[in-house]
Amino acid sequence: MKRFARLLDALVYTPSRNGKLRLLADYFTAAPDPDRGWALAALTDGLAQRQVKPALVRELVERRVDPVLFRLSYDYVGDLAETVSLIWPGNPARNAEPDLSEIVERLRVAARTEVPGLLAGWLDALDATGRYALLKLLMGGMRVGVSARLAKTALAMTGAASLEQIEEIWFGLEPPYLSLFAWLEGKAGPPAVDQRLAFRSPMLANPVELADLEPLDPADFRAEWKWDGIRVQLVAGGSEARLYSRNGEDIGAAFPDILGDAKFDAVLDGELLVLRDGAVAPFNDLQQRLNRKTVTARMLADFPAHIRLYDILFEDGGDLRRLPFDERRRRLERWHGRIVPPRTDLSPLVPFAAWRELASLRDAARADGVEGLMLKRRDSAYAAGRPQGPWFKWKRDPLLADCVLMYAQRGHGRRSSYYSDFTFGCWRGGAEGAAELVPVGKAYFGFTDAELVEIDRWVRAHSTERFGPVRAVEPGLVFEVAFDSIQRSSRHKSKLAMRFPRIHRIRWDKPHAEADRLETLEKLLNP
């Protein structure tokens, strides 16, 4: 456990990606099996442990520490695992420090009633760093700035396999990943997984602007709409199918409708959307379906899922990825015409002759769930990763509005002791009646750490009310908010919902009375 705790600690304090990669690679090389496999699962969120609920941890700590002092400490620190790790009256003499694998394996077989005793014993035996690691391990939400992809990149650094190779078999592996580590160390061949349902690393595009495009010949490129959903890969092997996010995460459990209709043998690249009467529903609707372990019949009916297809990677077992884009597109159209798979359609190509013509098409298409354009070289093979040159994404410029900060909520992870999630509003009414602020959106990024510290100080000095982790603040701070589009929404008091809002600038200088009015935002609504 010490080694894993030290790893987590070092990850927390190492800001650079390369530094994190080195720490991870060193750990995966040095730590024994099966500890390192459980650590990998914890870091990639594959350790579906969660036997330890926050309420249990609180209960245990409040038996040892004055509950008022605990609450005040938690309020200050912001993160439960960290608060408990610091405040727990350690008792290292009582037990030997547990191993990582001992903890995981013991909990797997433990009866529910045994869990509190086990946990308290381990917390006693560990020091503050160990307690933090233990609680993060068991409660989830590691938040040490390591994505699953970063962990896999570090694995690729330790051994014989490339990141793409690891990603392509990842779906078939299980903790503690003994076969994976044996392969990386050259002690065995690649782990045997059923390749028919494998995830293939997708091809990604680089952002581009008009000035970058102008030297290029438009005739070499095909344009498609970039739909406002999430990029997915649908892998179907006849009787069985899987749905992956673009990072190879299996998201199928939330989409039985899609999987149930995938009765063909193909690997497809497309955009997952909620579609009603042929129209793309707001992204918010798709979010109702995401990140769920199960879905109700009601949700299936209310938020019907759909895939708008961009590309075909395999057809009836044949690998098409080396073919040029135009040829794959022809095959995709022919295949789709032949199979007519439900819950899918083709993302149309957008004809154009000149870049400026395309630019005006792009700007006019703020409606209908379009985020911008994808540009693909007509001769491009489907290459894993983000190669420079063949594919571009050309997003619309964001819309901007000046909004007034209304509520601030504590963040998570490294931001847990700062107010970092902001709800902001615009003015309504006025003239005769008094003007009031109505919330129009919420954002938690777009500012630097230094700015966050300043905003946090401002929030603490200007709060008027507190509800749990949320503070209401007096009107005074103006944010220039950038967003991709704005839609009608019945769920908000303002009847508006911003898509992808972020803080563009903090207008310390701007008087809050001069922030935008609701009517100004309504003018930006999709027609």
Partner: protein, 340 residues
């Protein structure tokens, strides 16, 4: 002085817009705006401000105030030794060591059969650069509460210094940039490094030079200190460079060879705070009392009444009440959550 059981210090000592005011003696303690007479506990800028007419403090604090604010720092200084009594009307005042930074003092005020102690900022652990805190029995203790939560338990100083030296051994090619507050922390870190056997030169950001020189002139030996700037930054691999916290992430910190960013502060105990500041090597070194020290001090002072100020009052008030002490929070204006 004969102390009386029915002492009611709130009749003559109260919180005002400028800070704590003693009416019968007509003086303020650490006032936030200029005053005719001020008693100053120590030289940190949220306690010692420029421009009071008459200042009672220790000679070291007066020297620090002169160094920071120049000739305008105060109309006149009355420098008292620790334990020496001054009288203002029928109020007796003396200063006792607070163990916070060089010259720091608690203010002991006696009036109408009642003894009040204002702690200023303090700590209880040993500090090679200043005199240690002296507890004294009193009727009302007014304590600081910067780290008044049970999550704040500062580890042993030597262990923290060892973390820095260990990192230097592991990364001999990297410069170790340590953020320290200019008054107190800088000199304490240097003195602790010297005690741990680090006898190489220690390099200083320009903002730290004057106060280090002042400490030396007041008899605190700090060894070989050198300024660093410009081209000399490149030669700092494997060296220790001290700078104010604000310099860690600004333009000044560029040009050092692959620096390890360290910070010496009690706030480093909360990892997400350290992480937000971009700190790679947190050193938990504080000049304020941690939770255990605060608790111990409340006990040592034996006061039946406690006023808590300057930090997380709520937790300490709650604790003291649970131990039968009549405690309340005294929110004074002008104190910032800096230092630590």
């Amino acid at each position: 002085m004969t102390r009386r059981a029915d002492a009611a210090p709130e009749r003559w000592l109260r919180k005002t817009g400028r800070g704590l005011y003693c009416a019968p003696g007509d003086f303020y303690i650490d006032p936030s705006r200029t005053a005719a007479r001020a008693v100053i506990t120590h030289g940190h800028s949220d306690h010692a401000r420029a421009g009071h007419d008459a200042v009672l403090t220790t000679a070291a604090t007066a020297a620090i105030m002169r160094a920071r604010y120049g000739a305008e720092s105060a109309g006149a200084y009355d420098c008292a030794l620790y334990g020496e009594t001054r009288r203002f009307g029928d109020v007796a005042v003396r200063l006792l060591p607070a163990g916070h930074v060089l010259g720091s003092a608690q203010v002991v005020i006696e009036h109408a059969g009642c003894r009040v102690v204002v702690s200023g900022d303090y700590k209880r652990r040993r500090d090679p650069t200043c005199a240690g805190f002296e507890p004294i029995d009193c009727d009302l203790f007014i304590t600081e509460a910067t780290f008044a939560l049970p999550v704040f338990r500062h580890p042993d100083d030597r262990g923290e210094i060892a973390k820095l030296l260990h990192s230097l051994a592991v990364f001999p090619d990297r410069c170790h940039l340590v953020g320290v507050y200019a008054l107190g922390k800088a000199q304490r870190v240097i003195a602790l490094l010297r005690e741990s056997g680090w006898d190489r030169p220690i390099y200083l950001h320009g903002a730290l030079i004057e106060l280090c020189a002042l400490y030396e002139s007041l008899g605190v030996a700090l060894g070989d200190l050198r300024p660093v700037s410009g081209e000399r930054k490149k030669a700092m691999a494997g060296e220790i460079v001290l700078c104010p916290p604000g310099a860690l992430n600004d333009r000044w910190s560029r040009g050092f060879p692959d620096p390890v960013t360290a910070m010496a502060s009690g706030w480093m105990r909360v990892r997400q705070r350290a992480r937000m500041g971009g700190i790679e090597l947190p050193l938990i070194l504080s000049d304020h009392a941690d939770w255990d020290e605060l608790i111990r001090t409340i006990h040592d002072m034996g006061a039946p009444r406690l006023w808590v100020t300057h930090g997380r009052e709520e937790a300490l008030v709650h604790y003291a009440r649970s131990k039968g002490v009549e405690a309340e929070a005294l929110s004074l204006v002008g104190f910032e959550e800096e230092g630590g």
